[in-house]
Symmetry: D2
């Protein structure tokens, strides 16, 4: 009933406040006997970790994962895998000045109305720190998918827009994505983005971003009609990431003014002649690449002075100091990948339960 | 586990194929003692019903709801409310020619891979006919909200884009919306849309649409961190509607290139000085109007000849005849409203369970 | 959240009041492609139906099932199977005199405290009429088990005690069970029970019963640690049947004073040398026969005058007339079988989801 | 889907193997703002802890709880409360000789068939060590009940039978229960039990037990028709405790041969004239004391030599050495209380969600 769980067959329970002792999760439903590469989990966490470049918050967290159960001799037991990440660097004192005000753009006011309390020390559950739990779980889900399916699915995301700067799809290169601090797949865009974001940061401002997630090698048939459609669950998963304000699948909003809404089918080299649908029709995967995009708003915490109110209702002006990202969208790339892996693995196990062994990939 | 349920505290179970005996639903969790106006449910169904204007499919369904349980002397019992809508006009013979082909843009192929079967007679569960169940349930959810909350919430949707035609927000008039067959809130746009859609239809084409949903009078504090955020659940609910390819909240995708990501707070006439967030921050309602938009693709079934394959893998060319809407987005307006009502009522009951009595509205 | 659902992978949603239009259910999660024998469902319903002998209530219900969805050409679609049973013989007027009193032994008072309403016309949801829904669903679950598993599991129940009359286990004969109106497996006990129950009925009294359920041919490995243990889910399923006050597995309460709590293992003809555990250890099936027993209280509604209070708190004396069973335990035999089939099928699908294909039977 | 969760509105997720790093749980759905007395949680754990008397296993565990989230300044936040108990004393080497055999009476064989693996080092998830998680969560649930309800409910359990030794209900004294190592409420029985159990232990044997749980001050109206009946959920909760083989409510199995199945109602000092039902009718609490009993089998691990098989199918004879309780039923007393508290708190929050504020107690 409370909203700290994700998935139905592969269930993630997440816990922890950003300035408490630790954060962590329990991932239940992992098939037994999977050889789990824990260093892949740590690598995924490292990709999300702050302090990796001058373009993200310098808040230093080692984000070292401790696995507390569910694993023996490197193999999953089929029992809940519990993990914990200690909060090593929570400088709560820095937040003292926000104790009685609602920070604009943050969840403070809503939490206060809901719980008669909010965590001024960096947001508590509302903090993006919680997303480390998602990334760890997603890295396990990814290994579940790879173990069960004959052909390993490939879930990859990249930043396709940073504020007003876009990429050229013609330059798309997955290799390039790993070489710059933006997860940008367009080498020519990188220097432009560098200059742009440096300026934004120097001005004490922030910008939004669009992330595109692409999934390859996924079997046709994944997804449950009619409410747990694969795209519906992806939309929920991605919209639940901090700062996300929009999600689209395939052609998305552009489809509205398009002259055609369907993809023709052939039978030679390609089963489908186009991919307007983004790999999902009627809520079920078609075996084509799954394409989705998510829009993230500019970081709320910036040095710009802003008007807000105190708990007592007095109007005050405040600036949000602290160690913040000029663009939270950048670090959301591995988070988006993690959520997609969780959705896919969950649906694969659900499908296997109802319909039997997993299906053949579309050639 | 299967995906035919929606909600956690107010749970809708949906059943029925488009060309079977009937469709229906069971709505469980309705508080006891609610005076239920069944004619409001029928009115909601009538708004969604085909055959209402020349701009939607002439398929005639009376869509008369029969309530089978959960109600006594006009009041809810607190027990499951079961309802059924008979399929009066299912002309299955018309679909015989599609028995062995996968209709492009439809769920046929995915269902076939998933279930080794698909319903060529209009899609079965994948048909938009299932959405009548949502509309009936949404009309009940709306009465749950109105009964529990001191101030009745107002969930209204309108079409803001039809293919390439947009509205002017300056002309927005909720009254106007009820006077034209497009649920269009801009009186000046209506004649343009009439001409445009008539032409589209005459050419055997179809177009997409954007729907905007606006919720007024909703208390602050609704929504569950961190996965069942109110916007995450809205995204899932709306993305699960047939033909939807994108969902956004507040400024949505436009926020990416905006210079500011937050709304300042005041204390005089308005608690917030703007509503970029669309009424939801950190997944929790702020008491401001909730604003979301959804993009629907052009109807897949048109008279345009198209290439597809048979179950045996042979390439064929087909045209989809039958009684189809040139723009499925139009009839999706009451469906979107229904889904939003379901999400809000579900979250209100969840909140009441964990935190006690419902909260005070933001003045 | 409300309690009208059973199962997690094979989910039964039940609806309907005893004196409303109809009762029914939606069974979701049925694997696709199962050839469903609907006459087996009707046969199961007939076994539970009242009016079959002088020893059960003469209330006549045809209990004819109508399947409304989920089935096409005799095969399951993988979509929700909705079914309905009309209430043909609800003589509500007979209950008018109970409108303002709480019938002792019935759920009236609890419903009134919970919902500020109770259904004096035969109990509404609290009526045993709801169990027809369970029997129909159980008959489908049984076919799911038989289709998925190589060796068809056999779930059979019998009455082993009727009031103070017991059976001799040495005389156990499953064939005999079908030949008498008590589901009694001991031919020698039948005439004794006939005389006994006739006398009880003539005296306007009622008696309780013990039912034993035996499951053969079930694979080892079924059940989920640690809360959804197979025996825990069976206990819940059986305790949820009207009038049940106790459930035990294997040696049950007798194990307390036994000198040994375990079953030794061998390897020749028998994997286990005894079956004290009743086929379940640590919540997981061992492949031995699953044995459970449930105790049902004497029918509350009898002609005996009894003291109770009105809604206003006045003490009154009442007799419960109407068409009641002198022993509700008899008709609970097919209900217990149905619940066990539902639990087993649900756990089989859950297992298959997490661990892959179903397992090998213990030889 | 996996079975490591309990509850719907107050959800406990349990994790940890008996010989892993730690065990723990996440309790979600706790209302915000509850002043949580953590020393009461530790006290509950201490009652369950081994090594408290010569009659229970000397395995020493400090069982110190660490609360990792959900609490700030002594008050609950409304966010998940995560807790951990380290496994300080896991002497795995002692179990090496059982590496390849299935210990009779233990879950080894079932786990092996399910997961192709079992934890020979004390059972892993199947170990009673997991019940420490339940006790901690139950102590929190108890405080939730006490905070929400005007009159604090009182959940207490006692041992009413130890092997062949029973108590006299006439001597029942709750004070006495705290003074002896058996949780026995009958002072006169204690010396008899001392002698009896010492002899059992000296002989290398074990015995079973019956626990009775009594709940006072619980409002009428708790429980959900028709599958999540209060007694059905209690039956599941209690049957899920290690070694439990039977559960009964009120008169339980004795009701079968009773001459009357109902409780009359009055209106003077007592609302009900008797309590055969054990406080629950139709699955809903009546406001009377809730009475349930559970039967536990004799500890499986004793020094008695026994026959079993190895993974390879060879018959061997083994004795189970180690630090075991001669009667596991004793330490199950606080576990039973914990499970009942969890069920009651869960149902109270569910009720509050659907029906509004909590109800009035029966005077």
């Amino acid at each position: 009933m409370p909203g700290n769980q994700f998935g139905q067959a592969l269930v993630l329970t997440s816990w922890g406040e950003s300035h408490g002792t630790a954060i962590g999760g329990v991932l239940d439903g992992i098939p037994p006997g999977i050889q789990l590469n824990t260093s892949l989990i740590q690598q995924a966490l490292n990709r999300r970790r702050p302090g990796q470049s001058i373009h993200v918050t310098p808040r230093l967290e080692s984000d070292e994962i401790e696995i507390l159960s569910g694993l023996y001799d490197g193999k999953t037991l089929g029992t809940p895998l519990s993990f914990m990440i200690k909060n090593s660097n929570h400088d709560s004192a820095a937040y003292d000045s926000y104790k009685n005000i609602f920070r604009p753009g943050h969840a403070d006011y809503g939490y206060w109305k809901k719980y008669q309390h909010y965590d001024h020390r960096g947001g508590g559950r509302a903090s993006a720190r919680e997303t480390a739990v998602r990334v760890a779980a997603g890295a396990i889900a990814q290994q579940v998918l790879t173990t069960i399916l004959d052909v390993a699915p490939l879930v990859r995301a990249a930043l396709v827009q940073l504020g007003t700067c876009t990429i050229s799809y013609d330059h798309w290169d997955w290799q390039e994505r790993e070489k710059n601090p933006f997860f940008c797949p367009d080498a020519q865009a990188v220097p432009v983005w560098e200059t742009y974001l440096t300026k934004v940061k120097d001005q004490g401002r922030s910008v939004g971003a669009i992330i595109e997630v692409c999934v390859q090698n996924i079997p046709a048939g994944l997804g449950e009609p009619v409410y747990d459609k694969l795209d519906a669950d992806l939309a929920k998963a991605l919209m639940s990431i901090n700062a996300v304000k929009g999600v689209e699948i395939g052609d998305g909003f552009a489809c509205v003014s398009a002259s055609q809404g369907y993809d023709e089918m052939g039978n030679d080299d390609e089963l489908f002649l186009s991919n307007r649908a983004g790999g999902i029709i009627g809520g079920i995967s078609t075996g084509q690449d799954i394409i989705c995009r998510l829009a993230l708003k500019p970081t709320s915490s910036t040095r710009q002075p802003r008007q807000t109110i105190t708990k007592d209702g007095h109007v005050v002006t405040t600036e949000i100091h602290g160690r913040h990202d000029p663009c939270v969208g950048i670090r959301a790339v591995p988070i988006a990948e993690a959520m997609v892996n969780l959705v896919l693995a969950d649906h694969l196990l659900r499908w296997r339960g109802q319909c039997g062994e997993y299906p053949i990939l579309v050639k």
